[in-house]
């Protein structure tokens, strides 16, 4: 196997624009992502950082592609766990696809490392984040704080 990857999908009753706003604006991410904020300009070539509520920088990288409200590709490296940082850069692809009654959100996270520990670390977090995001957009409330 060449590298490691996961593909997570959720369907949310919302609009692509509202979902994009929720994915990229700090006011939103803070609410469903357990206080986490992404710091980026959301255009190709701009630096990207992820921060914990206390200001700790958890991950850094670069926006590789950005096509609002449809698609973003982030070059993503962990910063606070040495064994994860050592694996180098991963790629996170976020795709938003409008369907008849809902919007399909696909998050693909991949790295050119077999049995990647970074992929294990991030794969555990995404389902909870996506459930919270879905709940926030559909009901205005998060499930978990």
């Amino acid at each position: 196997m060449a590298g490691d990857k996961f593909v997570y999908v959720t369907f949310i009753r919302t609009t692509p624009e509202a979902l994009w706003e929720a994915l990229t604006s700090p006011e939103f991410t803070r609410r469903y992502w357990f206080g986490v904020v992404m710091d980026a300009e959301w255009k190709a070539g701009s630096p990207w950082r992820m921060l914990y509520p206390d200001g700790t920088v958890t991950d850094t990288g670069e926006i590789l592609e950005c096509d609002p409200p449809r698609r973003a590709v982030i070059r993503w490296q962990n910063e606070f766990r040495p064994e994860l940082k050592a694996e180098g850069f991963s790629r996170c692809v976020i795709e938003v696809e409008p369907l008849e009654k809902a919007v399909k959100l696909t998050v693909t996270h991949m790295i050119d490392v077999d049995d990647s520990r970074l992929i294990v670390a991030v794969s555990g977090g995404w389902p909870r984040i996506l459930s919270n995001l879905k709940s926030l957009l559909e009901t205005g409330e998060v499930v978990l704080n």
Partner: protein
């Protein structure tokens, strides 16, 4: 995409086995998944379609291959529905205790 579809998909031993195999090694083709299984290729394809319908399996094309991935998001949504309000840390501790006890050799 609803809970009924998820529960229906999970209510079958063969489909749970397919999810187990994807959990063990993510990103497999239909051919990979058929290996060593006592099921026809058609049966595996049919089970996969039901899992995809319930959004428990996602897929990507890589060159000419269709690779299947386990998608745990719907299971997480079901878990949050009933478990979310309880103390997650305590539940984690219980799961860990169970895992540790079950790993110990029986005396």
């Amino acid at each position: 995409m609803n809970d009924d579809a998820v529960f229906r998909a999970l209510a079958d031993r063969s489909r749970r086995l397919l999810l187990d195999r994807l959990f063990e090694r993510n990103g497999q083709t239909l051919g990979d998944l058929c290996e060593g299984l006592d099921m026809t290729r058609q049966a595996v394809a049919k089970h996969l379609a039901i899992l995809e319908e319930a959004n428990l399996v996602s897929w990507r094309r890589q060159s000419r291959e269709k690779l299947h991935y386990i998608n745990p998001v719907p299971i997480n949504e079901i878990a949050e529905r009933w478990i979310g309000k309880f103390e997650r840390r305590e539940l984690d501790a219980l799961s860990e205790l169970k895992a540790r006890l079950e790993k110990q050799p029986q005396t």
